[in-house]
């Protein structure tokens, strides 16, 4: 019994430590901007979403994440909810996010919040 308890504790500790470091940029409601240093994002800001988790990943620094998330266009905005991709908004060849980006994100966030209550 004692050994079983110890094993359960070890498994639990491993599980906690694994999930603590795993993909935290997708936790809860998260808005992630995938971009590059040379791109000017003057027409879009993550500030209105500061109540939620926000992250910016630059191509030069976070190449692996860009590859893992299969980012083709820059900049790209992704909205996640508990690890699940809810909305992906990509810039076209103009390298500018659509004007309606903030509005579209807010609409989706509103639905996500509504479902929590």
């Amino acid at each position: 019994m004692k050994y079983l308890k110890n094993k359960i504790c070890v498994v639990f500790a491993l599980f906690v430590s694994t999930v603590t470091v795993s993909q935290s940029y997708k936790d809860d409601i998260s808005i992630v901007l995938y971009t590059a240093e040379f791109i000017k994002n003057d027409d879009f800001s993550l500030k209105p979403f500061k109540e939620h988790n926000t992250n910016t990943f630059y191509l030069s620094k976070d190449k692996k994440i860009h590859a893992k998330e299969k980012i083709i266009y820059l900049p790209t905005i992704c909205l996640y909810n508990n690890g699940e991709l809810i909305e992906k908004i990509e810039a076209g060849i103009s390298m500018k996010l659509p004007e309606s980006t903030t509005q579209r994100l807010n609409e989706q966030i509103d639905i996500l919040l509504q479902n929590k209550f």
């Binding site: 999930v19 603590t20 809860d28 109540e51 988790n53 508990n82 690890g83 929590k116 209550f117």
Partner: protein
């Protein structure tokens, strides 16, 4: 012009506050009714061999609930389409919520359970910010004889996005002198015999002698009467088995009511961990209250006086864990434990689901 601008500004601020406070809030009202548990049939046979049924029939259980709430569910919580007032609300127990900002529940319910009428009031308000939280609770539950108020303020230290440490102070009230047992003190007094309590409540006894005509054995015992002279019992043993316990409860309640209520301020340390994915989730919380100071109530009846120190350890913890191993198999467990003063509340659920 200045007044117009001020008015517009005020309206704008009020609109923002209104949205922060009431957006996603739900007002609900519900009525439910169900059969109550019925005991076995009981009968009484008269001296003339006449059979009389004496079964006590409990009327149906019913409850009316009204509430107003804005409390986010955690990802793993099953959400009903409609609120009816029987939700478990795990979010009220932990120090993190599934959203930041203001959350609350105000609920009133009135009903009948197993023939006993009750009235319950519940209030919960919490504001959760990045670096601090404040929380106030009131719970008056006549069904489980629970009545307390608490308020707390804590600093939050987010160790990571999933782990949060909190340190602060908690104010708690309790309406009973926990640990103290008035009847024990009464009987410890050498001048008090058990029957003195009966006399205090107007019961009287009358001695009689008896003789077993078959064996010739003889002895004596007592009839017991209430304050109106109605016979309660034919012997001391029967009286103690069936009547005396009610007097003890009444005495304890009256004495504890005389003592009044208490309030403590305690230091509190909390640790919370929450991680949710649709395939697996874990949420744990711990609260430890190591130091206490009595700020209301008679100190000689306080819990600190009962245990002889002001640094007894009160705590609460809970954990929810679930994993969907594959599309068929899932396991889950839920545990909560709270030990405040000498009161413990424990719950454990563990299970497995296999979908064919």
């Amino acid at each position: 012009m200045k007044y117009l601008l001020l008015l517009l500004f005020t309206i704008n601020v009020q609109a923002d506050i209104f949205e922060d406070v009431f957006k996603y809030a739900t007002f609900y009202g519900a009525y439910s009714q169900s059969n109550s548990l019925q005991g076995d049939k009981t009968f009484y046979v008269t001296q003339q061999s006449e059979l009389q049924e004496t079964t006590v029939r409990n009327p149906s259980n019913q409850i009316k609930t009204f509430g107003f709430r804005k409390l986010a569910h955690f990802g793993y919580e099953d959400k009903n389409r409609f609120y009816i007032g029987d939700e478990t609300n795990i979010g009220t127990k932990s120090n993190i919520g599934n959203v930041k900002g203001l959350e609350y529940i105000f609920e009133y319910s009135k009903g009948r359970e197993q023939g006993k009428s009750f009235e319950n009031k519940e209030m919960f308000v919490r504001y959760l910010a990045n670096w601090w939280l404040v929380k106030a609770e009131l719970n008056d539950n006549e069904l489980v004889d629970l009545n307390y108020k608490s308020a707390e303020a804590r600093l939050r230290i987010p160790i990571s996005k999933k782990i949060s440490l909190s340190i602060g102070a908690m104010y708690r009230t309790y309406d009973k002198a926990y640990g103290h047992n008035p009847i024990q003190k009464y009987l410890e007094n050498e001048q008090n015999n058990w029957w003195n309590l009966s006399y205090d409540y107007g019961h009287t006894d009358q001695a009689y002698s008896w003789e077993n005509i078959s064996t010739g054995e003889s002895g004596y015992d007592y009839f017991w009467y209430d304050q109106n002279g109605v016979l309660l019992s034919n012997s001391d043993l029967d009286y103690r088995n069936n009547i005396y316990g009610q007097l003890v409860n009444r005495y304890n309640k009256e004495q504890l009511d005389l003592i009044g209520s208490f309030a403590d301020v305690s230091s509190v340390i909390g640790l919370d961990f929450y991680h949710y994915r649709s395939k697996y989730w874990i949420h744990t919380y711990y609260n430890v209250l190591p130091h206490h100071k009595l700020i209301k109530g008679e100190s000689k009846y306080s819990y600190g006086e009962f245990v002889g120190k002001n640094n007894w350890l009160d705590f609460s913890y809970g954990g929810v864990f679930g994993i969907q191993i594959n599309k068929h198999l899932g396991v889950f467990s839920e545990i909560t434990k709270q030990r405040y003063w000498d009161r413990s509340i424990e719950n454990l659920k563990i299970g497995i689901n296999y979908k064919l």
